[in-house]
């Protein structure tokens, strides 16, 4: 088989993803045998494009699991890699690195970003306050910042109120939102009920904006 570019060409062990893991991202979940065959055909024909919206959802579910296999390991299992164990996450600089060529196969930049957030950060244990803020970067010959991800920490049922460019937004615990902010730097103020961002319940910060904007994810543990 010739080596052909595709969404999953960066991943070696796609066949090791259990179909149950893919199914948990898709509602209604298809039969596992169909998912397993879908994945196998993706390995066999990596260059093929998804035609339907449902196929795209399956592709994104596979991508989430493929990324999870490349997520940074616990301290005890870490290798000596300089930038961390994952090519898609720079833990030191708090950057999520999304290859730009993935947009050829998943053009919706928000869906693609959510796949990365779900794969790397939704179940990630926060080690310090700085884990609340990540920069979203499209990587190519030159990198492009597309926005920021804010992960509020809630103690119990809470919510975050954000004021951005004169508009107010509200995100409750368990939900998520993308706020447009095309500027390079975006100033926002926030107030968190029963929780905090960057260690504070109320503050004003300046974060990176871009073609995606600000992603507020209140689903974190």
């Amino acid at each position: 088989m010739p080596a052909t570019q595709g969404l999953f060409e960066s991943f070696d062990n796609l066949d090791q993803i259990p179909p149950e893991a893919i199914a948990r991202w898709i509602k209604p979940a298809p039969q596992l045998v169909l998912l397993e065959n879908y994945l196998a055909n993706r390995i066999l024909y990596p260059q093929a494009l998804s035609l339907t919206e449902y196929d795209m959802r399956i592709d994104l579910a596979i991508l989430r699991e493929a990324l999870r296999m490349h997520s940074p390991r616990p301290v005890a299992q870490r290798t000596n890699a300089l930038l961390g164990d994952s090519p898609f996450l720079n833990v030191t600089l708090r950057k999520i690195l999304i290859p730009k060529r993935f947009l050829n196969f998943v053009p919706d930049i928000a869906s693609l970003t959510w796949a990365f957030v779900d794969a790397f950060l939704i179940e990630r244990r926060k080690e310090d306050y700085f884990s609340d803020l990540w920069t979203l970067v499209l990587t190519d010959d030159s990198d492009e910042i597309i926005g920021s991800l804010i992960l509020p920490q809630f103690n119990r049922l809470g919510e975050i109120k954000i004021s951005l460019s004169g508009k107010s937004y509200q995100v409750k615990q368990g939900s998520a939102l993308v706020l447009p902010c095309l500027a390079n730097r975006c100033e926002l103020s926030y107030k968190v009920q029963n929780g905090s961002v960057l260690g504070k319940a109320e503050s004003a910060i300046e974060v990176y904006g871009g073609k995606l904007g600000l992603v507020i994810d209140g689903r974190s543990l």
């Binding site: 088989m1 010739p2 052909t4 796609l14 066949d15 045998v33 169909l34 397993e36 065959n37 879908y38 994945l39 196998a40 055909n41 993706r42 390995i43 066999l44 024909y45 260059q47 093929a48 494009l49 998804s50 035609l51 339907t52 919206e53 196929d55 795209m56 050829n104 196969f105 998943v106 053009p107 919706d108 869906s111």
Partner: protein
């Protein structure tokens, strides 16, 4: 006008001269010389196959202690016995008589005096090896019991597969798009290569192995079943060869996918004929049944190949420019395996329901016209 390119593949090669390997089953003698011309019916070797043995718990069946079992045998150790003949007999005043019948043709090989277990060695079978093809012998390897014959074949290149090189009689099982169930595997399919169907179930493959089927040629198979036969991995190209007692070649992909028209057509022409299947290399050799093919075989010289290595063409897959009129095949998870004539490529990209913007090609298949992204096409050469 924008040019579009797509991978191209050779799926069927007609009337090419190749080397095939004919190998004795078991130990024996090859009666063929280098340079000798052969026809399919020529016997080029004979061998004896030890068919194995069977162990009977004679003491347990007779209801006696192990050391006593021997005295109830009707034959001596070393003697021949045929299936259905009386093997052991015990008379008992209280419980009547007990008769043990031989379950197979064989020789009473060994009786364990302590446990009362009897080993019956099956009678070795004499096998004759026919040439199977019209060809010219290129090499005889008496040590390995194999001969390499240059012959004319039609080659089918499958996508992937598993299992070593085997040969047998080709049998088309139903339609090219049917599901092949266990009940369709009959006992008289021993030494056959079964083809057809869009999906062979796991139970069907197990039944085929039990019935001595040599090979399976199918459009699709479930990925989990393929993994079970290929070392637990779905990796292309495969790094290791595997064999589970049957050779399987997939022609289209995973799931229920009918065998492509191009492959099914040539397979149908070979119904009931002698063919080779090489699962690990996803190759099917269909030897020419015309004696006239010897003319081409005589005049064709093949490059030297290593022992037992059938030469393979590395330029089977390439990139071709898409032009209307070409015969193409659809890849991916939608319309997978459908074949037809490329009748148009859109001049501008179209937004698909998946959100992807792509150039669409219109394909005219036998049943309908479909539009698929150019990236999902493969040119059939």
């Amino acid at each position: 006008m924008m040019k579009h390119f797509a991978p191209s593949a050779v799926r069927v090669e007609k009337d090419v001269v190749k080397r095939v390997i004919r190998k004795l089953k078991g130990k024996g003698q090859l009666n063929i010389n280098v340079g000798q011309e052969v026809t399919p019916a020529d016997i080029i070797g004979t061998s004896t196959v030890s068919a194995g043995f069977r162990t009977l718990n004679l003491a347990g069946s007779l209801g006696v202690a192990g050391p006593e079992a021997g005295k109830y045998l009707t034959r001596k150790i070393g003697q021949r016995i045929y299936q259905g003949e009386l093997l052991a007999f015990k008379k008992n005043l209280l419980f009547g008589k007990k008769m043990i019948i031989s379950p197979a043709d064989g020789i009473l090989d060994f009786l364990n005096e302590k446990s009362g277990e009897l080993k019956i060695a099956f009678i070795p079978k004499k096998n004759e090896l026919p040439a199977g093809v019209f060809g010219i012998c290129e090499k005889v390897d008496h040590e390995r019991g194999q001969a390499i014959i240059r012959t004319q074949v039609s080659l089918i290149h499958g996508l992937c597969g598993t299992g070593r090189l085997r040969d047998g009689t080709l049998h088309i099982l139903g339609k090219k798009d049917g599901l092949i169930e266990k009940k369709m595997i009959q006992s008289d399919y021993q030494d056959h290569i079964l083809a057809g169907g869009s999906l062979f179930y796991k139970e069907t493959i197990s039944a085929a192995i039990s019935n001595g089927v040599c090979g399976i040629i199918t459009g699709g198979i479930n990925a989990s079943d393929y993994k079970a036969m290929a070392g637990g991995r779905i990796v292309f190209p495969k790094k290791l060869d595997y064999d589970i007692g049957i050779s399987v070649v997939l022609c289209e992909g995973f799931g229920s996918i009918p065998i492509g028209e191009d492959i099914f057509k040539i397979l149908s022409e070979y119904e009931g004929k002698f063919v080779f299947i090489d699962g690990n290399n996803a190759l099917i050799n269909l030897p020419s049944t015309a004696g006239a093919s010897l003319v081409k075989v005589r005049s064709t010289r093949l490059p030297d190949a290593a022992d037992g290595n059938v030469s393979t063409d590395e330029k089977l897959r390439d990139i071709s420019e898409l032009k209307t009129g070409l015969f193409v095949r659809v890849l991916g998870n939608s319309y997978l395996g459908e074949q037809g004539k490329l009748i148009a490529v859109n001049g501008s990209p179209t937004l698909l329901p998946s959100g992807i913007c792509a150039y669409l090609a219109t394909i005219e298949t036998k049943r309908r016209k479909i539009q698929v992204p150019v990236a999902n096409l493969e040119v059939i050469r």
